[in-house]
Amino acid sequence: MDRPLDEGRAGEGDPPAVDDVEMTEEATVHDDTELERTIGLVGGLAIGVGTMIGAGIFVFPGLAAGEAGPAAAVSFAIGGVVALLVALPASELATAMPRSGGGYYFISRGLGSVYGAIVGISLWLGLVFASAFYLVGFGEYAGAALAEVGISLPGSASIALGVAFGVILTVLSATGTENAAKLQNLIVGFLLLILSVFLTYGSLDALGVFGAESVPEAFAPQGYFPVLTTAALVFTSYLGFAQIATVAGEIKSPSRNLPLAMVGSVLIVTVFYVVTIFVATSAVGSEALEGFGETAMVEVGREFFGTGGAVAILLAGLLATFSSANASILSSSRAIYALSKDALLPAKASEINLRYGTPHIALALAGGPIVVLTATGQVELLAEVASFLHLVMYGLICIALIVLRRNPPDWYDPDYRMPGYPLLPAVGAVSSFGLIAFMGRVSIAVGGIIMVMAVVWHRYYAREVRLKGVL
């Protein structure tokens, strides 16, 4: 824990911890103590895909098709391109700094502690908003599942289900000692399998293999502007890849597995999203899809395979939204840990519970607001604010890459170097910030207020913390 004298002059807070460390493929070695890397490539992909797929396939198709028609597929494609433009620089930065904390870590080291504070707090709360959004989706699926077995509840009951599940999830993650990583891999494998069968059949059907070709409706019935606003809305479906970087400290052979997992998971989900919209709009039409709301895919499943199809999609939807919410709570608590390690939040925030071995305070700081936000039931607002807060970070990741490449500190030696510098990261930054402009006014206002509050917090609590260039 030795730290050079001229760095980390913290004010009221504790000094940021700067360690003498050695990285190997399998462990991080701090003086006498080793930290094992336990997540392989499959585990990394499962984190990325598992976090993302719940939103894009099981919550958004109805909303997106309602706004943009079949052209919603283009909206998803745009989101995928933006995500890829960020996944590349994020991969380079992650191989240069394979530490837990992800985007927060890169930006605080590349651009300094003010940006670090903004991004760290945005990441924490962005994941809180995202998780609340997944839980609202989960509640919808739980309500639909109950309706399917003949228990119909009043309209607001699905929100109550989402809230209840948010509480359960938070308590479980604070008290559970079982390692669920293996389970996550299985869930994601199962989801991809169901979806592949379903989408293959659906695509063949849409192309007219099993009967009359479906009547093509206007591709972009509302014109092309809604395609962009929809892209901004559904961008929440791409928030998972950066979560892989939040556990970068636990990834085996990080120089190989981090880029593969980040870029790979974006490519996988993009294909699935685009095909899903194509299949869903061909099967029932975008207007009908809109009418079905968040659980529209259940009706698409019913259209193809009857009740069995509906049940399969319900089950998959419950699993997918659950795994997204769970992954986001865990990542959010990692973001809090990274902030508190750097003295941008009190050290108390990352304290570990001796009995359960879990960071109970950080989990409560994530889970508490998640439950409150889930209770609002505002799907689109939650999604857009989550995207807003992430897009700010994504744009800054691209800028951090440019800054670090132009003026590299001596520790900057990434094993993976992204192609197309400086054009691609610049395009990545512009498109990340640009997408924000197409969001609803309320979402932009809420996101903006959170960022201002982050700056105020930094001025008040951690003005003296220096992080730029400190590895």
Partner: protein, 264 residues
Amino acid sequence: MKPTIIVPVRVLEGEGIEQGVVELLANARVVLVGYHVLPEQTAPGQAREQFEERAQNRLTDIAEQFEGVGATVEKRMVFTQDSDQSIDRVAEEVDADATMVLNPATEMKDVLVAVRGDVILDRIVDVVGGLLHRTDISVTLLHVATPDSDIDGTALLDETSAVLQEAGVSDDRVESRIETSGTPLDRIAEIANNYDAIVLGESNPSVTTFLFGETSQKVAERFMLPVVRIRQPRDIEDADAEIAEAAEEATDDGEDEIDGEESE
């Protein structure tokens, strides 16, 4: 040469080492691996910040126990979400001969050695000889044959006993015992109840699924006594190639040097 033995200890859960184990390893190079298993909710670095000092202090206390009886001790401390992976990694890094699975043992008088006819018999004998030659601990060599086995148990144990004697474990301390059972592992566990520790090999995966793939937790539950698990060289083909090479070199250097080598 002192055999290198990995001794994994869950330091933060108050796991300690009993005197019997300390006595058994007095002639070993002990690589003490303190570990703490974390749920996936917890970043290993987060746990390190909070628990490192306590863990290191505890590890130092345990190291002193071993140093007190003359063992060479190295310390490692790992925060991990997968203890078996960490223990395997360290074992690989220090090229360990065996991994200790801890269980209570207040004294160390009688050690059971499970012998099968496979590639790691050499290593088993090396470790047992290395650990016991300067002690008065007695050894029972046990071969449990399956009903359809074609291994000559008596010859195997005689040969093993002879090699042990060369290593400094005199004849009068060594007993042999041959049994037949359809479920050898259960039979071994049963017999082991009368001993203070057991030495057995990880299996050659191509021959049988003896203990291969069993986590140390499972091994600890199956045997109620300390277990010295002899490590299988990770790549059997490599090991075979090495043996073949060594034999070839030996032949080149002259007949004398391969005397005493196993004929297999």
